[in-house]
Amino acid sequence: MKLDLLTSLYVFMLAAFIGFEVIRRVSPLLHTPLMSLTNALDAIAVIGAIILVGERKSALSTVLGTIAIVAATSNLVGGFLITDRMLKMFRPSGPKKP
């Protein structure tokens, strides 16, 4: 696993630019779901933890990695669930008036 530093920096920079441009367009109306969705996406860190645990290189790495998987997975599941629940509630004023 060779660390190609420069490529990684390019990737980081471009992703940050895309992030700024895309997220700037998110309506303030949805800023709470935005935060919970980015939180769920951030739980992608679970892949690092999964490899760490699976490789079983040391007892310490297995224990820490297992806790890390639990933490990230609960974010992943909880984050997507609550984002969808919130978004379900956002309704435009329809033609049907009560």
Partner: protein, 464 residues
């Protein structure tokens, strides 16, 4: 191992697809019409990424992985089903979990690689665990304050900033030394431990009203920590997801700090809640005009345009469903009702919108500050429910006010202002609000939920 090359490529393709899906997910979140598609997209991307990772050839044992994934689902499901009023503390808690994951993986990676850690790798690792651990304890503290397990008021003491910055400097110094001499593994616990303490101390001086900024900032830190982890593991997917999360938190923190008229450096160094109102209580002893639910109902029923301005007080009183009833009653009478939402109303960005959407108020009636301020001069009644500082005209015209320069909702430009409030006492920041003493202002004293309920009953009674 023979199938390894093909499998490696399959994993890479899954990661590539996941990256595209994550970006699309955020893009579709941009508008309420496509937002749920965005969530589906994010879920699919996550499924591909986790599925691909499980194929990784280095994995020799699935026992612990399976158990941990199952436990994560068991813990995460109830966290996805909390009440909407508990969303701010849930969000803070999830920042803590994300940061915990990153810190633990970083710590494990360090001990696996030590003492031969390349310099750049060590620098990123240090960044990862420093950001991760301070975000972990900081977010736990924020969640505790929001859940009111911990006192919401800011706790300040002399030399607080000096102590905090000194601690951070020690942690950074230890990290720098480790970059220089990665063999000094005994320093690593300090690099993890001191920021844990710093995270706690950082949140102690922060009051409830500053939470929107703090949560956004912690969000940004959590994202940057994950991106740093991506550098360590050489995972482009992680770098990109972390950068997206970091950018999102950064944008929200800038928005929040602008909405509170704080400088960005003020936000970055976590020095919130320092401004103690000096001489702001010089307001002469006056009492505003007050009105009963009957009078309020009469005025509202006679109006053509009404703007409701909700604040944290509405959330505390759980008044959003009564507000919905008021919205219905007025709309039925042909009154045009809109909502004016300040960016920092509530305890996190967008907090009010979620509560009002939960109460079934159509989102096209929820307007942000810039949109609604143009409407307010043509508005008959501005009804303020549990908001205070964000409506304070002193921010616009009193240079001596601690909140001078903060953008506000110009409710004082409406023809009549009604303010539902428990008492005449100053708001959270302890700043007197001249709005309450204007001739056009009527104070409606009482609990937000029961007062709005009383107005609704009056409107229904007048109808029948």
């Amino acid at each position: 191992m023979t199938a390894a090359p093909g499998r490696e490529q399959l994993i890479e393709v899954a990661y590539l697809a996941a990256t595209a899906l994550f970006i699309l997910s955020l893009k579709w979140l941009g508008s309420p019409a496509t937002a749920r598609r965005g969530v589906r997209c994010g879920e699919l991307g996550m499924l591909l990424a986790v599925g691909g990772t499980l194929l990784h050839h280095g994995i020799v044992d699935y026992k612990w992985i399976a158990a941990a994934l199952a436990l994560g689902v068991i813990i995460g499901t109830p966290l996805g089903r909390v009440q909407m009023t508990a969303v701010p503390q849930r969000t803070a808690l999830s920042h803590a979990f994300g940061a915990l994951c990153v810190t633990l993986v970083g710590t494990a990676e360090f001990y696996l690689r030590a003492p031969d850690v390349p310099r750049f790798m060590m620098a990123v690792l240090a960044l990862e665990v420093i950001l991760g651990s301070l975000t972990f304890t900081g977010s736990l503290m924020a969640a505790g304050k929001l859940q009111e397990i911990l006192p919401q008021r800011p706790i300040t003491y002399r030399g607080q900033n000096v102590v905090n910055l000194a601690l951070l400097a020690v942690a950074l110094g230890a990290a720098a030394y480790l970059v220089h001499r990665p063999g000094q593994t005994q320093l690593f616990p300090a690099v993890v431990g001191i920021p844990l303490l710093f995270g706690v101390l950082m949140i102690i001086p922060i009051g409830g009203a500053d939470m929107p900024t703090v949560i956004s900032l912690l969000n940004s830190y959590a994202g940057l920590a994950a991106a740093a982890m991506g550098f360590v593991l050489d995972s482009k997917l992680l770098i990109i997801a972390g950068a997206l999360d970091g950018a999102s938190g950064f944008i929200l923190s800038v928005n929040m700090s602008k909405a509170m008229n704080r400088s960005f450096s003020n936000v970055l160094f976590g020095a919130f809640g320092q401004e103690q109102p000096a001489g702001a209580s010089a307001q002469p002893e006056r009492s505003g005009r007050s009105a009963t639910p009957e009078e309020a109902a009469t005025i509202l029923a006679a109006a053509n345009r009404v703007v409701i301005v909700p604040g944290y007080g509405m959330a505390v009183a759980q008044a959003q469903h009564k507000v919905r009833e008021l919205y219905d009653a007025l709309t039925k009478r042909g009154v045009e009702v809109k909502f004016g939402i300040h960016p920092v109303a509530g305890r996190m960005p967008g907090h009010m919108n979620v509560l009002l959407a939960e109460a079934d108020i159509p989102y096209d009636k929820l307007l942000d500050m810039d949109e609604i301020n143009g409407d307010l001069p043509q508005t008959d009644v501005a009804l303020v429910i549990g908001a205070n500082d964000v409506t304070n005209p002193a921010a616009r015209n009193d240079a001596s006010s601690p909140i001078y320069g903060m953008p506000i909702l110009d409710v004082d430009r409406a023809r009549t202002v009604m303010v539902i409030k428990r008492s005449m006492a100053a708001g959270f920041a302890g700043i007197a609000n001249p709005l309450y003493y204007l001739d056009k202002t009527l104070m409606l004293f009482g609990d937000a939920r029961s007062f709005v309920g009383a107005i609704v009953r009056e409107l229904a009674g007048a109808q029948g």
